[in-house]
Amino acid sequence: MRTPDLLRLPLVGRFFRWRYSRFVLQVPLLLVALLALYDGFMGRQLAPKNFATVSVWLHYRGFLVLAIAVLGNLFCAACPMMLVRGPTRFAKRFLPEFKWPRALRNKYFVIALTLFYLFAYEYWDLWASPWLTAWLILGYFGVAFVVDALFPEGTFCKYVCPLGNFNFTLSTVSPTQIAARDPEVCLRCEGKYCVNGRVETPSGRKTLKEAPNAEGLRFPGCETKLYVPQIQSNMDCTLCMNCVRACPYDNVAWKLRAPGTEAAWARYKIDVVWLGVLLFFAGFMNAFAMVPPYYQLAERLSELLGTRNEALLLSTIFVLWTGLGLFLTLGVAMLADRVSGVRASPLKAVRFWGTGFFPLAFAMWAGHYAFHFLTGWASIIPVTQQALLNLGLPVGEPDWTLAALVPENWLYPLQVGILYLGLLAASYVLFRRARERNHFLAGGIVFTYFFLLVALALWVLAQPMEMRGTLLLPQ
């Protein structure tokens, strides 16, 4: 049976082959970012009543996981940050271009940035401050501009952007993927245009790699250097559809696939696996930081260490929790390896079994974001009205009682459902891997570990919410 290809659908294929399709997707998000900047700096500094905080911390995150679950990494496709490309192309004429250091051509730098971002999120209460949220957006555009101007295109998305890498990791569960329609055509393809880019010059077709300055109709290739016939994973795919436009043989498909199963066969590098593992534990921490036991733990730790320094306490909790998570994962993966009779290195063990964390990481974040999104979905209407009113547009008085999308008592069952689905997908990944080894007990060991983590996550999500900016109560 042929795999369904979304690009074969009427209009969809035509739209994505159109060279301005990405720009059309980016413009609405650019307008959202501009309004968020305006309201974040000029509007009332109250998170639930400001467009910056509501759009970024509620809707952006909510739609992001929804899009990933239903279709794919659409938010990278529509990322307005890549609109800096015009100005950076101009700036590149005057600036030298550097190569991204070899030592950083992996996910460890992004892991460090993600950890810093999560720390900053809690320490400076970014979620509670429209002003800081606006600075975050502005800073993000600034960094994208600098990196894109000084380094090859695609560097920012692949090696720097914590948000993009978050999207890449979670989109490993998505039900779609870019693939070659017919691998035979690729074997005969002379230019590998999907990755090298294509330029139609008066003297014939060339790749952008061999003729970067040639005149003619230009179709850039994959900026994150994915070669279509070899793509096994959504990791690093921004769904920019450059490959679709660059391939002269119309041989690129946006195929449907079984959601949540990619990690069963994809061979990720160890840095990518660590990113998946870390995102699960970070997602857990992000939810845990909103419930009373977290604050009790902080008080205890404060007494134990004899300090009320929030940065120190927060870093300690962060390091202890993520460190414990990574350490336990290493131990369980090694145990599973030993049980299945494999004597590989600890990192190889994590590389083999840790992929199960990808669907679990998605479920953890989706469960948490779904709560916020569904409790406050409709609040985007009054905050947009308020922001537009501030701009002087006649849009009527905001109704601040608009908020919830679903009854509150549905939320926990929904979160349980999402986490169970994540566990189900993770168990598929684990037992497929166990079957490779012909040793189901090994898969069972890792599954038990996952089961306990999910039980702990459900306990956290069952706690009453506490939305507090300070770690310790004033004495």
Binding site: M42, N390, E466, R468, T470, P474
Partner: protein, 116 residues
């Protein structure tokens, strides 16, 4: 150019919206430190202000939370009271007290508190 940019930064960082005249008021709670549940809010203003309406809106500092809205009733000269304001969740709260005088002039005061 650099100066312009710096000026823009200073202006942006200095921006704080104006929502009404500041309301000079003393705000007390009963119990003194409210916990999750109902609490009384007493708002004491200069009696010469001749207020006609006082509203209290409670927001949490996280986006997406439905605000709690209540209206204070007069309880003596310059004293307004909300009998049972519903602090329905633990965390940081921002109370916005909006008062209107006979001429319809609006006064606003913001009170921040943590509900443990």
């Amino acid at each position: 150019m650099r100066r312009l940019f710096l000026l823009a930064l200073v202006l942006l960082s200095a921006c704080r919206p104006k929502t009404g005249e500041p309301l000079e008021a003393e705000v007390r709670f009963v119990p003194e430190h409210p916990t999750v549940g109902k609490a009384e809010i007493c708002i004491e203003v200069d009696p010469r202000l001749e207020l006609t309406r006082v509203e209290v809106v409670g927001d949490m500092t996280h986006a997406g939370m439905i605000p709690v809205e209540d209206e204070a009733h007069p309880a003596g000269p310059g004293l307004w009271r909300v009998d049972a304001f519903d602090f329905n969740m633990r965390g940081d709260w921002v109370l916005t007290i909006t008062a209107y005088d006979k001429q319809g002039k609006k006064y606003v005061k913001e009170v921040r508190l943590t509900v443990p």
